[in-house]
């Protein structure tokens, strides 16, 4: 076993230790021993010892495998090849122990036995195998019902929140939407042919538990557009302290309905006179705060759908973007054909116009929102901006003049 005096210091402490866990496996797997040895070296030298990835994969796929090679293969022969396999996770990251054990059995046979549960995009990540083992490992997994996820300039494995499986706030079936879209875009997920990556995420409500607004090129967030349902007796129970704020998630013993709910409402659309809670629903911006505070008294309305937002990505390269609203409300139901069709239109436009490694959000900024909206057939809506432009530099197109001549107020879509 390699000596790891620096890493050994991470074995103590109350939070689960990855070093302790890896050491257990290192006794059985020489490559894990080498991994600890190389990691110790990085801790000493403060530098990575992984080389820039190479192109490896399984037959017929261009994505899902990340080539990884050590720059110290003579010292750590077990890491000469140590590739990553991304396995597309099930919606909502639900498993049975039988399913996890099947994956473990296969990974013990063909790989290092190290997993990430899960990767940042959502995949079940298998860390560390050789080029020769990629194809047999893939097929062993496939025969148990698993497939490889996305990487590179491809559709990435879509992900979603826990949704209707275990949450009362799911405004649509996030798990099925995620599954349906994943299946629909299998070809694009496995064969990179886009300008860059494309991520779909599905959050059931504006609490956005999968950070769709920050991390998905196309974000789907559940929303309602009618009235919040109020159980006045439960509101009183919160006011009286019988029910705990946020279902008991806080340090506070009692909810002050006026100070903690009504006064913190961002639109000021609520009132409480000590007996009745009133909500001016026409002015609610469905932020979820009041519902979060009183989950047993307030429920989202019944007219439910999704808001579609576009364009988020991390700072590389023009600076981080968050997704912005392009469709304020869309009714959806399985098999989610309207989401699939819109996604296809967007990707077609992006594939046609995007530069190499240009995210769709960056392309929309480069060519303009109008160009994008017209190309995918969406009308301009005030919900898509916080405020309109302040500058006077706007364009007029022939379509605008034609609409004007035809007596229409303004031009929207073709």
């Amino acid at each position: 076993m390699h000596k790891t005096p620096l890493l050994d210091q991470l074995e103590s402490g109350p939070y689960p230790s990855f070093v302790k866990d890896l050491k257990r496996l290192a006794a059985k797997k020489p490559q894990v021993n080498d991994l600890l040895g190389q990691l110790e070296r990085s801790y000493k030298e403060k530098i990575t010892h992984w080389k820039h990835g190479g192109i490896v994969g399984v037959l017929g796929y261009g994505s899902g495998i990340i080539g990884r090679y050590s720059d110290l293969p003579d010292e750590f022969p077990g890491l000469e090849h140590f590739h990553t396999m991304r396995i597309n996770h099930p919606s909502g990251w639900f498993y049975t122990t039988q399913a996890i054990r099947e994956v473990c059995d296969i990974w013990d046979q063909y790989g290092s036995g190290i997993l990430n549960m899960h990767g940042a995009t959502g995949d079940l990540v298998l860390l560390g195998t050789t080029t020769d083992n990629l194809e047999p490992c893939f097929q062993a997994l496939a025969h148990k019902g698993w497939d490889i996820g996305g990487s590179g300039s491809a559709m990435r494995s879509p992900s979603c929140c826990v949704g209707p499986a275990r949450c009362e706030w799911a405004m649509f079936d996030t798990l099925e939407a995620c599954y349906e879209c994943t299946q629909h875009f299998q070809f694009d997920l496995h064969r990179p042919s886009f300008p860059y990556k494309y991520k779909l995420k599905f959050s059931g409500c504006p609490n956005d538990c999968v950070a769709a607004v920050a991390r998905a090129d196309q974000s789907h967030i559940g929303v309602w557009r009618d009235d919040i349902k109020i159980d006045q007796s439960a509101v009183k129970a919160y006011d009286g302290g019988e029910l705990k704020p946020r279902g008991g998630a806080t340090p506070y013993a009692k909810l002050d309905v006026k100070a903690d709910v009504v006064d913190l409402c961002p639109t000021g659309c609520m009132s409480w006179d000590g007996k009745t809670l009133k909500i001016d629903n026409k002015n609610c911006n469905h932020c979820m705060h009041c519902i979060n505070m009183m989950p047993q008294a307030l429920k989202p309305g019944s007219e439910r759908g999704v808001t579609i937002l576009m364009g988020s990505h991390a700072p590389i390269l023009e600076g981080a973007q968050m997704s912005w609203v392009i469709v304020p409300f869309m009714e959806v139901e399985p098999p989610f054909d309207n989401i699939k069709e819109l996604t296809e239109r967007i990707i077609e436009w992006w594939a046609e116009n995007g530069k190499n490694r240009e995210r769709v959000g960056e392309l929309i900024l480069r060519l303009g929102m109008r160009t994008f909206l017209e190309a995918v057939g969406l009308p301009p809506v005030p919900q898509s901006v916080i405020r309109p432009r302040a500058n006077p530099f706007f364009y007029w197109k022939q379509e605008d003049f034609d609409a004007e001549a035809a007596g229409k107020k303004y031009y929207t879509t073709k």
Binding site: L39, Y43, E45, K46
Partner: protein, 356 residues
């Protein structure tokens, strides 16, 4: 040989749902968090499910995964799930099993928590354990910070939830840019061009166009078939290295940690916000990163003391003003804090609304 299977996609989640979840799918009416780490959901039918949330370092061996399975078999019929912050949840339908489960988790060193007004698991990236571009490690920093803040994992004592994330370089595959506290590995050295390798490994036009500041130019000596870097323009994003392996920018001494704070994803009260630079550089100091740990603790304590009820870090800072944040947390304000990248102007103050 068995038939080759491709493009089947992931298994349908329906195969993995417990009977209670299947029967009450879409029919949940409310929830409580009965103690830190244990959620109780109630359905229209009156059915209940208890989710016991447990810490995970995200990187798991098959041995640990099998241990988790053993617990799940014993207490919840083999049904479990993982969360978007890489914890796992044991889905218990029999309330009588909660106490013995808690005892077993404690015995196995599997802490429950991460619910409500807590610090839950730190979403993070690979770091030195498996990545070719990191400035810092990921798992080791996370372990060190979580050990230090452990009292906040299994309790609900903060004014609101605090989401900490870590990305080990500017590529941010952890997408930490909307976190209450973001730990970011940063390089501070321009790439060193290896002309011999570049000629064989890299496409010169894509390498040049990878640079967002136009710092990369064709090398004036055409026979080299390489590039030069205008070092004054480089802000060490590493995008050229992504495109061209002959341009590494690692430096054990200059690389380090930046902290960004005040981001959020949820729409509750205030809209989603980006995290913003709090500390531009902290030394990269394995194995326990004491300076990072102490700085995060300092920010967290000042937040916990200063925030109103239910206020997220971002909402607290926006209320008191960023100039007060730097004062309260005793963090020096530097040239690095003033944006000079592409969309800088919207961060400049154009009013008299500031504090001394």
């Amino acid at each position: 040989m068995a038939e080759r299977i491709t493009d089947i996609g992931p298994p349908h989640y329906g195969k993995f749902l417990s009977p209670v979840i299947k029967e009450n799918y879409g029919k949940w009416v409310s929830h409580e968090i009965i103690e830190p780490g244990i959620l109780k959901h109630v359905a229209e039918s009156g059915a209940e499910i208890y989710s016991v949330r447990v810490a995970s370092p995200r990187i798991l061996t098959t041995l640990q995964a099998r241990d988790i399975c053993e617990v799940a078999d014993k207490y919840c019929g083999g049904y479990l799930r993982f969360t978007s912050r890489h914890n796992f949840e044991l889905l218990v339908s029999d309330k009588a099993k909660l106490e013995p489960l808690k005892a077993e988790l404690a015995k196995r060193g599997m802490p429950k928590g991460g619910t409500g007004h807590s610090i839950t698991n730190i979403v993070h990236t690979q770091g030195w354990i498996h990545c070719h571009t990191p400035a810092i490690d990921a798992s080791g920093v996370v372990k060190s910070v979580m050990d230090d803040l452990f009292e906040y994992f299994g309790s609900h004592r903060l004014p609101a939830q605090v989401r900490i994330s870590l990305a080990c370089c500017l590529n941010m595959c952890g997408a930490v840019h909307c976190s209450d506290i973001a730990i970011l590995g940063v390089h501070r050295t321009p790439p060193k061009v290896n002309h011999d390798r570049l000629r064989h490994l890299c496409e010169i036009p894509t390498t040049i166009s990878a640079c967002p500041t136009g710092a990369i130019r064709p090398h004036p000596d055409k026979s080299l078939k390489s590039v030069t870097v205008n070092e004054e323009r480089c802000m060490y994003c590493g995008n050229c290295y992504t495109m061209c392996p002959a341009m590494p920018l690692f430096d054990p001494k200059k690389g380090g940690v930046a902290l960004l704070v005040g981001g959020k994803v949820s729409n509750a009260k205030s809209p989603p916000m980006f995290s913003r630079l709090a500390v531009p550089w902290i030394p990269n100091n394995p194995p326990r990163w004491p300076e990072v740990v102490q700085t995060i603790r300092k920010i967290l304590i000042k937040y916990a003391e200063g925030a109103n009820k239910y206020e997220r870090v971002a909402e607290w800072i926006e209320r008191i003003g960023w100039e007060k944040f730097f004062e309260v947390c005793d963090i020096p304000f530097t040239y690095q804090h003033i944006d000079d990248y592409k969309w800088a102007y919207d961060t400049y103050r154009t009013s008299m609304h500031f504090k001394f």
